[in-house]
Structure formats: C-alpha cells, structure tokens
Symmetry: C2
Subunit: 411 residues, 2 copies
DNA sequence: GAGGTTTTTTCGAGCAGTGAAAATAATGCT
DNA sequence: AGCATTATTTTCACTGCTCGAAAAAACCTC
C-alpha cells in the first residue's frame, strides 16, 4: 500500500527534490539564488547542499564568473551538477533510424551513434540485442563513464503494454511483441524506461519556448505518422497520465481510408505523408499505404501545393480537415490554449491552416472560448531528445534523492 | 508564488487531511483503525485527534457499538465528525428543476427543497437572486444551523468561464451570462463553487461501486443532454483537470444534425432524447430540437424499440453509433477500463450496445487492448448529489485544516 | 587596514513524527 | 471477588527537519 504519510524524512526528500529541479531548469546557481527560487531558508539550503556535496551529486564550481555586474560583497559560489555523477543512455527509435546518445548528469551530450534502421533490422536482430550492442559501443568508446551508466531511456512509437516492458503494437516493423525493455534491463542490469514519442514531444516543447512552459499545449507531430502529446500547466497528461495519445489513430471517417495500422479511417491515413501522397495522386484510399516516403518526395509535394497544383492542394486540404476535426474532437475533452505542429508536415501548416480552423470553428467549445493559437515548429528531433533526456535525468534525481539512508521503514 | 516548501506545518496539514479523508470514506472509526488506514503511528493519531477535538471538528461517539465480534480488550471509542461543525448548501440545477439541499458536516441530509424550473425562470429572476431566495428558506427552516452555513456548491451544466464565477454557455435557459456564483458569494458572504455535472457523475460513481473506485472510468450521461466525466485511479481528470468534458458536443458528423447548442453534428444531436426522437419520427435532422421531452414519451419510445419497432430501433441505432464513435475517439486520448452509462438513456443500453461495440471495435486501441467493460446504472441523481456533497465537504475539510493558527508565513 | 556589502554557515528554538512503555478499560477464568 | 488476558489510548524520551537571527567569511573600495 502506498502511504502518503508525511514525516521528517519525506520533508527532506521533497525539499531536496525542489533544489535539484531548480538546478535542472536554472543551471548552476548560488545557494542564495536557490533559496529564493525554492522558498527554503538559507539554512536549509546549506544543510541540503552539504548532503548533496558529500554524496558527490553536485559540486561547487571554481570559476566564480561574476559577470553579473555586482562587484560588491562576498562573491557567490555557484553549485552545479557533478557531471560524472551519473550517465544515462538514450535511444531514439524511428522508422528509419536509431539514435543512441550518452548524456552526463548535467545534461551534456558526451557521445552519439546514428544507425540506419530498415524493416528488416528487427527481424534479423532481436530488439533487446540490437540496443545492447549499441550500449556496448558506448561503453568501449567512453570507458571512464562505463561504470557510471545509471539508466536507459527509450523513445518509441506505438502502444505500450501494461507494465511498460515492451510494445503491443508499433509502426516500426518487428519492434512490437518482445518485452525488449525488460530483456534489456536484465542484460545490462540497468533500469530501462520506455516513453512514447508523443509524450516526449509535449515534454520537450516546454523547454523549447518558455512562454509555453506553463500553458496547456497540444503538440501534434505530422510526418510519417501522426502523433500528439498533451501538457497542462507544465505537467504532461493524457492516456494513463503518460501525456501521450493515439491521436493519429483516432477515427476520422467511419470505414474510411486504409491506415498503416490496419484499421480504416484513422487521422493518420489522411494526414501522414503517405496519406497525403495517396490523396494527391488519386490513388484509391483503400490501397495499401506506402511503407516509407522519401523526404524529398514529400517536400516536392509541398512545393507543388504551394505553387497552386490542384491535386496536391487537395491532398493537404483533406489532411488539414482530418487534423482539424481530430483537434476539434480532442478539444471536447481538453482545451489547450496552444496547438503546436512539429515534424516534416509542420512546414505545410499554411496549406492546412484554413481547413484546420474551419473544422475547429464548427465546435461549440471553440465558438465560445475562441480558437487556440496554432503555430509550427519545424524541428521535431530537438524536443524529443530534450524531453527524453529530461525524463531520464529526472528519474536519476528521484532515485538518488529517494531512499537516503534507509530504504523502507519497518512499516 | 506558490511555494511547495515542506515544513513541519505542512506535514501536520497533510496528515490531518489523511485522517479527515479516512473518516469521510470510512465513517466513524477508532483511533487504532485510523492509524492502520493512514499509516500514521498511534501517537500521531492521538495528537492530531486532540487538536481536532479541541476545535470541535470531530467528537467521540458515546455508543461504543461493539457488534464486531471482538469482545475482549479495552473497547474502542469511535471518533466521527461533529455534525454541527459545519453545514453546506447544495444546489442541483437542471433543465426542469432545482434541488436545494442542506447537509451537515457528517454528510447527513438535513433539509431539502424541490422547485420546478422553466425556461422563463431565470428570465424573470436573476439566477443569483433565485439561489439566494432558496438559501434563505433553508435558513428560516433550520435556524439553529443558519449561523454555521460554511459553503455553497452548485451543480451546473454548460461551459464555465475562466475563473469559475459563472457560465459562458448552458443548456439551461437564461442561466449563462451572469457571474451568478460571484454574485451569490457576495450576497451571502459564503464561498461558492460551481461544478460541472459530468465531473460530479465521475466523482459520484466512485462512491457507488467500490470496484470502480480506483479504476479508470468514463461515466456517460444520456438523457436530455449527453455528458461525460472521467476518473482515473480515483481522481477525476479531464478538461482543465476538472474531470468534466464537453462529450455531448464533440463532433460526430461534420455538418450533421442540428444540436440544441446551435452547432451541427454534435453527439448530443443524435443521442440525447430529442435527437433519438427526431430520428425515430423521421423528422429532418435540421429541424429545431424539441425544447423538452416528457420522460414518459421517451420511455414509450424505448418500449417500442424493445418490441421491435423499426423506426424506433433505427433511432437507438444511430444514437449508439454516435456514442460509440465518440467513445472510440475519446479512447485515443484516455483508456478507461470501464464505461458506465447513467441517466434515462441508460435503460436503452441493450438497444445501443451493438452499435457502440462495433464502433469501438473499429479503433486501433480497442483492437489491441480489448473492449472496455460497458455497464449501465439507471439512477443519475444519486451519484450527482453524492459527488456534489463530497466535493463541498472536502472543501470544508481543506479550509478547516489549512491555515491552522497563522495564515501565512512572513515570506 | 577600516568600513561596507553580500554570501554562507552556525546555533538555539520549535515542532512533528516515532517506538516503546505505561495507563486504561473491558472480558474471562479460577 | 481477584487476577490474568486482551486491546485501545496516552505518555514520554528521542530524532530529524526547518527556521530566524546572529556570526563568520569573502571580496571590494577608500
């Protein structure tokens, strides 16, 4: 049974967490600044810092760096994360590539490996083995950090199984089915966490634009798939509170276009690259979706539509309509103040905006509260990486912070 | 700035809240039982109880009532809420009635007034004045409690304005527009809170069936309107975390049937009583919705459909389809394990189940995770009242608990 | 080097929670 | 009736945390 009892121990944990997260979002700071941000007294900050320094989780920075104008008084000694305190391994799996990153405890990228992925990849190599292989490469390339790998975080697409040990379904060929997270955890003896890409997008965009950081935002990815993450007042929410949704596979038209997932009428079947292409070239929408669309082909389609090509314009109109009605339906349950489009399709926002806004206008919620602000951000890789890294480092913080001396009380 | 600092004060508050909510859900209990439930030590429970007793928030019950079989040992002295510690006034506004209830601090109904409401009611009397009038009736009828009215809670339908002082839109004629909550608060000098009916349904069903209390449930009201509340692992979530949604006005078919809200194609336009009636009698779906459907007319329609009448069956099929696709779209964002239908339309679940399930089956999420359990509960008034009462009493608990001696630290 | 300014640490007080032991209140057995 | 048994509740000594205020430290200017 989870007990919410507050005792002096949990108080310390809470306040320690406050300081760590202030350090995460604000970078190295003086104790005085931390006291101001967290609301703790200087005395408490000092006490907690002594703990953290003793554990070598943080360190005092040597260069006082007093370029802030103030030249009077005792100079502040900045405290920041001890970079070598922990390393996390991040995997971003995509339909056509795997990006493996090693990040230190302060959030600095130490090493990175990019590997192409094909539909055959996970048929030939068991997913857990494939990941383990790349992790070993990192180990040999950065031997001094190898002992301090603390945690693995993986960005995936698809539907997680109940305990988060693997995927029940995924657009990435042959990835679903095995409990690769559990297997990898056993092979490496490190904790492994899976995060849905949509959730990370929602998480990452908060760091992208400070104005969005405490607003309610729906981040929609449009590209080879369609996905969405939700954040509300800073924290990600949604399906199982994971912040991710199956927006791409929300039904748009009953018995409609054939989707890659095998169902019919999903938003993705109209708004993902293959869907737009299919519409633009008047291919029957019951035709099997193209396995992968080269990015240049998609770009040239955008150019044609921008130049006024009727068929291409039609494709983007249908895509906008699908996204628009999907958002309108979503807004019956959530009402974000901002909608952010990311990914390759975000470049086509101007082609789709009309249909999106007219679909939204047809809903009661928008007619009363007004339309949310819709904007585009072209790069989707940065927020995903950022979100994944922050999740992983925050998890390390929690583990370091949580059971200080004694793990559990005698109950 | 909200500070999450933990100090000894907030620890006491937290643990006090733990005890109060254990008392709320478990009824009068011994200190030992409370220690077991909350996880606190006996010593702490005793200390907190002394505070609570001194404040006359709780009281020791005189009748030991040891019918629990155990006859040995020192008999437990049960502690329960001091009933006269506070009273809350609850208003449940509906399209055709207002129910005003007075409830004591232990959750016992003390007085109740039922008043019919017509579309003219709020045109003739300003909403805040109408409520204030009924509150005064309660005051004169129960003079000994009149001094201890602590809080007003109102169940409403429609879209709340940003600060919760009134409604931006409501299906109840002439109720939206004024900040009646703020006005009533000023007139009575009591805090007033508005709650959406859908949210209360979600809250109330948790008390209804203990098996649902920590599951994820979507509670759908089908009657003169269509509404939905969501609860997840015990806490209500959804639009602005309020637990309520605009499910009834989620788009079902672009440019479809005319809804009471003025938009077209809302789920409600197909699945509320007026929608089903319109379809069954082959009235064009662009015809203005009936202002109110007598319950016996709706009941006889159900009987006809159950007897096999083609037109009536068709009406319920379309309703089921609208609800089914709405739920399927909802499940792209949330995945409740249970779906509970309440209200007059719940009696027709067997007529709609087929269409609902086939719509759900067409979604990726259901084809992977399986269909949620769908069941009906006929009485919707009980969970709404229960939910409203619990919200109001919990708010009193919070206020009593929160600023114990000093309101704010000197910061 | 004295005086001023700002950061950091130290110190005593206060308060909350805990476990163990004591007090309390009833029953059951001889 | 007397005493052991059982279970609840309270008391007590102790630990840990935060806090405010005062002291110490570190650097600048004159």
């Amino acid at each position: 049974m989870t007990r919410n009892v507050s005792d002096s121990d949990s108080v310390r944990r809470q306040n320690r967490g406050l300081i760590l997260s202030a350090l995460r979002s604000g970078g190295p700071q003086s104790r005085t600044a931390l006291a101001g941000i967290t609301g703790l007294s200087h005395a408490s900050v000092t006490a907690i810092m002594q703990d953290l320094l003793a554990q070598r989780v943080v360190e005092e920075l040597t260069s006082p760096d007093r370029a802030d104008g103030r030249l009077r008084g005792r100079p502040a000694t900045l405290v920041g994360f001890h970079r070598a305190a922990a390393y996390v391994v991040l995997f971003e799996v995509d339909v056509n590539r795997l990006r493996t990153s090693l990040v230190d405890y302060s959030g600095v990228l130490v090493d990175r490996i990019e590997t192409p992925v094909t539909p055959q990849t996970f048929a030939q190599t068991r997913p857990s083995a494939f990941f383990a292989e790349h992790l070993e490469s990192l180990r040999t390339r950065t031997p001094k950090a190898a002992q301090t790998f603390r945690r693995i975080a993986i960005s995936v697409q698809g539907i997680l199984d109940r305990n988060g040990g693997g995927l029940k379904w995924s657009p990435i060929a042959n990835l679903a089915g095995t409990s690769f997270a559990d297997e990898l955890a056993e092979m490496t003896e490190l904790p492994v966490a899976l995060y849905k890409r949509g959730r990370l997008l929602a998480e990452g965009t908060r760091w992208l634009d400070p104005r969005l950081s405490d607003a309610s935002v729906a981040t929609v990815f449009v590209g080879s798939t369609v996905a969405m993450g939700l954040s509300q007042r800073g924290s990600t929410t949604g399906r199982d509170m994971g912040g991710a949704t199956e927006f791409g596979h929300m039904n748009h038209v009953p018995n409609g276009a054939l989707c890659r997932c095998g169902m019919r009428g999903c938003i993705e079947a109209y708004a993902a690259d293959y869907g737009i292409l299919r519409t633009s070239f008047s291919v029957p929408d019951t035709a099997a979706p193209a396995p992968a669309v080269p990015s240049q082909q998609f770009d040239s389609l955008i150019k044609r539509a921008e130049a006024g090509d009727r068929a291409a314009t039609h494709g983007f109109n249908l895509a906008g309509r699908a996204i628009g009605f999907g958002l309108s339906r979503m807004m019956a349950m959530f009402d974000p103040s901002h909608i952010l489009l990311v990914g390759p399709g975000a470049r086509a926002l101007s082609l789709m905006r009309g249909e999106i806004e007219s679909a939204l206008s047809a809903s009661l919620v928008c007619s009363i509260n007004g339309l949310p602000a819709i904007s585009a951000h072209l790069d989707e890789r940065e927020p995903i990486f950022r979100g994944l890294m922050m999740k992983a480092l925050a998890a390390v913080d929690d583990v370091d912070v949580a059971p200080n001396s004694h793990a559990l009380r005698s109950a």
